[in-house]
Symmetry: C2
Subunit: 356 residues, 2 copies
C-alpha cells in the first residue's frame, strides 16, 4: 500500500491522480491511500472505475504550501494532506509515502512523526543520478536533508546509501566514494579525512567496497555507485548538474531550430534524439528517498507531471516490495552495535539479514 499526498505539487491534484492512473495501468498490484480534500479527490478519482477500486481516499482539507516554513508546519499542519500521508506510514497502513510538496516541511514532518532510526543522528535524502554505470544510475546522498554532516554522519550515509543501492539498483556489493575536491588522500576538510577511515573500516562488514575520495566529475562516472557527501554540497552538486543538463538540452534545441536543413535533420534523428531525451530526462529519476527514519518517504519534484509522479510511485513500490526499510534498519542497528563495541541487548531485536 502506497500513501500519496495529492496536494502541494505545482500542478495540483489532477496531475497527481493522473500519475496514480499511469501507475495503475503499469502495475496491477499497487494499491493507494490518497490524501487531500475529499470532495475534490472524489471528483477526480470517482469517475475512473479502474483507479477508484484501488484507491482509498483519506480526507485532509489543509494544504502545505511551497512557502510554508518547516517550523510552522510541524506546529500547525495536523489537518493537511502531507501530515495525513506521513501518518499512514506511521500507523502501518502504508509502507511508503509519496509527496510532491515542500521538501523542508516534508522532512520536518517526517522526522517529527516517524522519528529517526535508532543510531541515526541525521537523516539524509538520496537521489538517483544518470551515470555511465550498467544500471544507468549512481546514488548520491545527502542532497539536502541537513546542511551539515560530521564524520559519523557520513559513515551512516555510506551504510544507508549502500543499502539503497543494493535494494534500489540490485547491486550486491556497491562501491562507495566520499565526495571531495580531489582524489588524493591528503586533500579536503578534516571531517572527510576522519570519515575516510570510518567508512573504509566499515566496508567489509557493511558489504560494500570503499573506493576512496571521488570528485564532482565522478557523479556520473562508472568507478563508483554511491556518492556520500553533506547535504549542502550534495544539493548544490545536484542542482549544478541538473541545470547544466537543461542548458545543454536547450542549446541543442536551439541548434536544431537554426536552419531548414537542421530542422530536417532533427526530424530524421527523431528516434535517436528521443532516446537521448529519455536517458537524461529528470522525470525518470524523480524521487528523492528520505533515509534514516522509521518508515520510507519519497519526495517527488514539486513540478512533477503524471509521468514524473508515476516514476516516484514506481520507486516507492519497488522499495516497499523489497522490504528495503527493514533491511536498512537492520544495517544501521548492526553498525551502531559495532560502534558501541559492547552491543546493548535491546538493540538486537532487529534482524541482521546479510542482504540489507
Amino acid at each position: 500500500m502506497i500513501s500519496v499526498d495529492a496536494m502541494g505539487g505545482d500542478r495540483g491534484p489532477a496531475a497527481i491522480v493522473a500519475g496514480i492512473e499511469q501507475s495503475c495501468d503499469k502495475n496491477p498490484e499497487i494499491r493507494f491511500i490518497v490524501h487531500g480534500p475529499e470532495p475534490e479527490l472524489r471528483r477526480l478519482i470517482g469517475r475512473r472505475r479502474e483507479i477508484a477500486d484501488r484507491c482509498v481516499i483519506r480526507h485532509a482539507p489543509g494544504v502545505v504550501s511551497m512557502t510554508d516554513k518547516p517550523s510552522q508546519v510541524i506546529r500547525s499542519a495536523q489537518d493537511t494532506s502531507m501530515w495525513s500521508a506521513v501518518e499512514s506510514v506511521r500507523n502501518g497502513e502504508a509502507t511508503v509515502a509519496v509527496s510532491c510538496g515542500n521538501t523542508g516541511a516534508l522532512m520536518a514532518l517526517s522526522m517529527l512523526r516517524l522519528r529517526k532510526l535508532p543510531g541515526v543522528a541525521r537523516p539524509a535524502i538520496a537521489i538517483l543520478w544518470p551515470s555511465r554505470n550498467p544500471t544507468g544510475f549512481n546514488v548520491m546522498l545527502d542532497v539536502g536533508a541537513d546542511i551539515k554532516a560530521d564524520a559519523t554522519d557520513l559513515l551512516q550515509y555510506a551504510l544507508m546509501g549502500a543499502s539503497y543501492a543494493r535494494n534500489g539498483l540490485g547491486l550486491d556489493r556497491p562501491r562507495v566514494g566520499l565526495l571531495n575536491v580531489g582524489t588524493e588522500e591528503h586533500k579536503g576538510r578534516a571531517e572527510l579525512k576522519e570519515a575516510q577511515e570510518l567508512v573504509a573500516a566499515a566496508a567489509p562488514r557493511g558489504q560494500f567496497d570503499y573506493v576512496g575520495f571521488v570528485e564532482g566529475s565522478d557523479l556520473m562516472s562508472d568507478r563508483v555507485d554511491v556518492i556520500v557527501t553533506d547535504g549542502f554540497t550534495g544539493n548544490i552538486a545536484l542542482k549544478a548538474g541538473e541545470g547544466t543538463a537543461k542548458l545543454v538540452g536547450d542549446f541543442l534545441k536551439e541548434a536544431f531550430a537554426n536552419s531548414i536543413m537542421s530542422k530536417f535533420a532533427a526530424l530524421l534523428a527523431m528516434t535517436s534524439l528521443k532516446r537521448l531525451q529519455k536517458r537524461i530526462d529528470p522525470r525518470r529519476v524523480n524521487g528523492g528517498v528520505f533515509l534514516g527514519l522509521n518508515g520510507t518517504v519519497v519526495k517527488s519534484h514539486g513540478s512533477a507531471d503524471a509521468t514524473g509522479l508515476s516514476a516516484a510511485i514506481k520507486l516507492a513500490f519497488q522499495l516497499a516490495k523489497s522490504g528495503f526499510h527493514e533491511r536498512l534498519a537492520a544495517r544501521v542497528a548492526q553498525a551502531a552495535e559495532q560502534a558501541a563495541a559492547a552491543p546493548a541487548p535491546g538493540a538486537t531485536h532487529a534482524p541482521t539479514g546479510d542482504s540489507a
Copy 2:
C-alpha cells in the same frame, strides 16, 4: 608581455608552443616569455620564425609534476619552469603568467612569491561558466584555491569577482549572488547569513548589485553574473557541471551513431552541432584566474591542447591590457579601508578608480 610555463601540461611543451603560435596568429601585439628547458624550447620555437621573434626563452630545467605536493614544491622548485614563470610576474617583466601545471603547486608558489594583496585573507580561483546571459558567461569563485571561507572571505570574493566581471566580461554593474541550498533568506549555513549582510552593505560602493542567495541551478542562469562560494563547494559544483555536460555530449554522440538514418541526420545538422559544441566547449573558457595576489596568474586545464592554451593566453592578454590587476587591487584596498572605518593613511596610495 605574457609569461608562459611551457612544462607541466599533460600534452607536453609542443602543445604549449602550438598554443602560443595560435595566439600569435590571432593577435599581433602579444609578446611572450616562455619558461622551460632551453634546448627543448629552442628546438620547438627556433624553427618558426614568426613566433621566435616574439618569444624570449627563459631556461628552467626542472618540471613540477601533477603529483608533486604543494608543500614540496615551495621548498624545492626554484629551478622549475613554473617557478620561473611566476617569477617573471613578480619582477615586473610580465603582467600575467599562464601555466597548465598542477593547480595546488601553482597556487602555493604564486602565494609564496607574489604574496597576497593587502586586505585579502584567502586568494580565490575564478572561472567563467557558460550561461544564458548575453555575454555567454557567468563568473564563479572560489573554485578551489582554499577549501574554507568565512563571511569576510566571501565578501572579498564578491568584490574581486565583481571586478573580474567588469574587466573580463565588460559589465558595468555586475549582479552578484551567494551560492546556497535555496533562495530563501533563512536557509543555509551561519557564515552565509553573515556574508549576506556584508555583501549587501558593500554593494553600493562596490558598484555591483547584490541579488541574494542563488542555487546550483543558477550557475548558468541569467539572473546573476558573479557566483560567490567557498572553494570546496565551488570546485565540486564546477566538476559536477563539467561532468554532466560531457555525459550529455557523449550520450548525444551515441544517439547519432545509432542508425544509418541518424548518422545521415548528424551530417545534415553538422553546422548546428558544431555550433553547439563550440558553445559548450570547455576549451573556450579555459583559464581559472587567481585573484587576490600581487600579480595575475591564469591556470589553464592540465589537458589543454593548442586551442585551449590559446584561449587561456587570450584571457591573460585581455586582463593585462585592461589594467585589471591595478583596478582589482584598488577595489580591495578601498574595501579594506572602509572596513577599518578609520582609513590608515598608508593604504591610500592605491588609485580608487571607479571602474575597477
